[in-house]
Symmetry: C2
Subunit: 282 residues, 2 copies
């Protein structure tokens, strides 16, 4: 698997692939790859001729007091995992090449980015859409693959690509979980063994909410939210940041749990912020 | 010359041209074409195999009290002029196709867009960069052509294309003027004969400022600005909106007239807002 650092080298590879009539699949990541990313690489590999995995810890999507500096990095391991999953090229640009002096352009998606994580991480999605826009322009992928674990991010990027008439199909892969239900996340590496056990509360709360809707036919938004709050409240190491029950297509508020519904939550386990979600079809 | 209204039809034409190995030149306009636009169409025609002229009065770059509704339109005449200048395809999308319900994405260039026209037309450049980004993605041009008359717009679009790693070369053609120095603008059609005479004051003020620098060796920014203010102040029908002497590369403030310098002004003649500028190399 080839590592490419220079933007011009990447463009050269893209040009070559296009000339040969090959389709390109892009899996944008911040590295420290886990099975969630790798399932996307495998999807891409089954669909596209050339699979580009980008590894770039994007500074502009981190808030001032967030974990940009501490975000886990292991390029050696990423390279091996991505290769085994079917990746062809790993694109690892430098921050100074992505955001050179004088850089001034930002892409923003309104509304979709205002609630949920957007309300708690101002500027986060603006950083995400900006870097993904750049990556789309650099890699010119036929398809790009994102994980449903970041549900709001996936919807936001779909919206951006459609609104800006970008020639890319955005595909979203399912949340990948450990045996005990914990959603895979690079940030799980921050957790102590005790915190890792406490992290099960996210999936447990989501599952209880799902059962409340599907089995007990409880369609009142507030009651479902309360169920999540109670479950998270029962875990001493956990602190709920938000629990939202919203329209699964556009994240708008809903008055009852009907149609395509997203249940999403963010929880702090110690100092580690974790998110998870479930899509219900009611 | 072919007229294309549907986004999908445009994509089909672009695909065909690309497949045939043809280069594409794009001249984005709001229509009501004049010699300023046509000079760009001719440049494109001499450089590129397929010349796309887009005609789209972009609602999101107009402020609430601006002239979106009244902006002059004459598609029949535009078509004939663009064809004679070497245009191959006229792209005239509908507003509802460019900004469908739920549209939410905007592209913003910071700093460059804060002064000059940006200070007086909040949201204007955001509307411009957003629509141009969309047009670049739809037309996938090798080169795109803009006029120096809108100096701040040209710099902003260059910045956007570079920052977002768009695969397009942005070219800027010179200000085209009438015999008496008035810069060509679709908005000149708003002027009464008396106002049209008064509009000469923009070029007259710029020329006096230029002579003050080049001939009298006056390098004090305030003195040059005062010269423009006095000249515009002497025209009863004119009201100065701004006169700025700034760095011609990044529009930043300068302490003396040295290097690449942009002198730009906006003037209201009656209710019509006109802009003009000159680049000096000192």
């Amino acid at each position: 698997m080839q590592i490419v650092r220079e933007l011009d080298d990447l463009r050269g590879e893209v040009k070559k692939a296009k000339k040969e009539g090959k389709s390109i699949g892009l899996v944008p990541t911040m590295g420290f790859l886990h099975e969630g990313h790798l399932s996307l690489v495998r999807s891409a590999s089954s669909q596209d001729d050339v699979v580009v995995v980008s590894v770039f810890v994007n500074p502009i999507q981190f808030g001032e007091n967030e974990d940009y500096e501490d975000y886990p990095r292991d390029l050696e391991s990423d390279l091996q995992k991505a290769r085994e999953a079917g990746g062809d090229l790993m694109f690892c640009p430098r921050v100074a090449d992505m955001y050179p002096p004088g850089y001034a352009t930002f892409v923003e998606v309104e509304r979709l980015t205002e609630g949920l994580c957007g309300a708690n991480r101002p500027g986060h999605f603006r950083g995400v859409t900006t870097v993904v826009n750049k990556l789309f322009n650099l890699v010119e992928p036929d398809r790009a693959y994102f994980g449903q674990k970041d549900a709001q991010q996936a919807l936001t990027i779909k919206r951006m690509a459609e609104d800006l008439n970008m020639n890319v199909e955005v595909r979203v892969g399912p949340v990948i979980r450990e045996e005990d239900g914990v959603a895979l996340s690079s940030r799980n590496s921050y957790l102590s063994p005790e915190e890792r056990r406490a992290a099960r509360v996210l999936y447990r709360a989501l599952s209880k909410a799902r059962d409340l809707v599907y089995i007990d036919k409880e369609y009142r938004v507030e009651t479902v939210r309360q169920c999540i709050e109670d479950e998270v409240g029962g875990e001493p190491l956990a602190q709920l940041e938000y629990a939202e029950i919203v329209n699964g297509d556009d994240l708008s508020s809903i008055s009852e749990v009907k149609g395509n519904v997203l249940i999403a939550l963010a929880v702090k386990i110690g100092s580690t912020r974790l998110i998870d979600n479930m899509l219900l079809e009611v």
